[in-house]
Symmetry: C2
Subunit: 335 residues, 2 copies
């Protein structure tokens, strides 16, 4: 019997890592979330991740063969397989692919998490049929992936663009990157928590958020309270959306994509964030660009864009190109 | 005798229009500058431009045949041949190609001036051999052209990116586009003149610029005085370069090109501008990007980047692709 090929897509986040088994159609057979632990020992993490993937694969029926593993990770370099000092994990510089190869004799590829989300939207999500768009991931931080003429833009040396680290407020909030005023210190889960503290310090409106310490605050909690009309939570989304909208307008002015697709926890807050974002986005575009660039939300269920995109780094064996060929082409283009 | 093909490249500026006859090698046989007049009547301007091209062509030896005309113009749309309300010319919306076809039975193509400069640098200038770079034109205003994977990026609907209209100072200097704080109100010939007035208002240092009215002030004049160590002129370049460097760092953070190439009058001031630009550029990059993106000056003589780039819109008849084919490919890619 010929077994059906599946590919494991892995999305490594600062807190949790999600992996799933993906069919060629983009359908996900099963997925699992595990904590990204230990956050200070990548060797141990890879050992655990590999074991979890093997166990989950064995739980599937016998009809499938595993054709490869595609990984999305922060600060990952598509060309050399390395993860380079991700800001939310204490891993330093590590060749992730080489380490994974100890556990799997399979094609393994890696790319930056926002790039993977962009690939996921392009192949299986709301970016299907678009040729030029930008995916913004709004998680703990803010990532960006760019599709141009139907291809993922790998920047110089395989590094990804880091739109979250464009400076929107000179001498603004201190960022983990060592600088100040980066967009992600405002427009991210961490950013909206900082905004809540700032707003509590300024305003007198009653708010449940006054009872919560910064360490316990989350984007989800602020979202839940905003839906219950908590005035500070609503103001926090408004403030965040406006900063994000202005920054996206600047990006779209240089770039003029067909769409900007928002993905990740904070994007799940829907109109709470998208309302003020769209308003400031349109207000800050040049007249000639107004109405031409859509702000969309990811359409992929369960936040699986990056898992799906990571899986698409590997080709199914009846595809025309093998992953090795694709990678060597990319390397050639960038040299 | 088989005549050698040449292509006319035309670069329409707010004040002057330059055209030249370009060989396949990129060599320019002859070029001429005419005033872009009348600035309020595009029909008359095209009549005069066409006549000038014909006269100059006849002045060449009989060994050449004219294979086509490529035009670079502000606010030009590559796909529909239109120029749409350029901010420095009172032309409104006009189909430039259709009008030019009254005078020439030849292939004619048009693109945005900054895009043309990017093509010129890519094919004949310092961008030769690079795959991903951005050209910034520093003329009266500030334009941007982007080469990605060796192709000019035509943004949505054929419009060009307008990096000069990214907002760098909220509620800053009023811009001709109707908004405030656009980069080109600081980093452009017009911008540096505004900066001089601002500096005279603040500082007490003696300066010849105190004797010159705003209407008479030019980037060239400020450059000449800076070379003579005029303290206000030097401060003006420093201020301009720093703003430009910070803005370019934000662009490079999202995008990570191999290089940013500066072109146009203000770039001709060399280290006066490039010194503070490079300093703030490097200071404002993420650590992972530092040292990876070069800031370069156009290497094409006589400011002919856009003329050369415009000529390259047309193919010589022994090329593999005709311009019609190239355009239809681009249209398909963008639909």
């Amino acid at each position: 019997m010929i077994k059906q090929e599946i590919i494991a897509g892995v999305d490594i986040g600062g807190t949790n890592t999600v992996f799933g088994f993906i069919l060629k159609t983009g359908d996900c057979l099963s997925f699992k979330s595990i904590p990204t632990q230990p956050a200070d020992n990548v060797i141990k993490f890879i050992e655990k991740l590999s074991e979890e993937i093997k166990v989950s694969f064995q739980e599937l029926s016998n009809d499938y063969s595993l054709a490869g593993i595609g990984v999305a990770a922060p600060s990952a370099n598509h060309f050399n397989g390395k993860i380079e000092s991700p800001s939310n994990l204490n891993w330093g510089k590590v060749n992730f692919i080489t380490l994974m190869k100890h556990y799997f004799e399979l094609p393994i590829a890696i790319t930056n998490d926002a790039n993977a989300a962009a690939l996921g939207e392009y192949k299986f999500g709301i970016g299907k049929g678009l040729r030029n768009f930008i995916v913004i991931t709004l998680g703990t931080g803010l990532g960006s992936g760019i599709i141009i003429n139907g291809n993922l833009l790998y920047s110089e040396g395989g590094l990804a663009g880091e739109f979250g680290h464009t400076i929107v407020k000179p001498n603004g909030r201190r960022c983990k990157c060592g600088r100040a005023g980066c967009l992600e210190t405002y427009a991210s889960a961490n950013g909206i928590c900082r905004t809540v503290l700032h707003l509590i310090a300024i305003y007198n409106e009653p708010s449940e958020l006054r009872n919560i310490s910064f360490s316990k605050m989350t984007g989800e909690l602020i979202n839940d309270l905003a839906l219950k009309r908590d005035p500070i939570a609503i103001k926090a989304f408004d403030f965040t959306g406006k900063i994000l909208g202005k920054a996206l307008a600047n990006l779209a002015t240089s770039f003029v994509p067909e769409a900007i697709i928002l993905f990740g926890g904070l994007a799940d807050s829907g109109e709470l964030l998208l309302g003020p974002t769209r308003e400031q986005f349109e207000n800050n575009l040049l007249d000639i660009h107004k109405g031409k660039v859509k702000i969309l939300r990811s359409s992929i269920k369960n936040g699986m864009s990056a898992v799906l995109g990571a899986s698409s780094l590997i080709s199914y064996s009846n595809d025309h190109h093998s992953i090795e060929l694709m990678m060597s082409e990319n390397i050639r283009e960038n040299n």
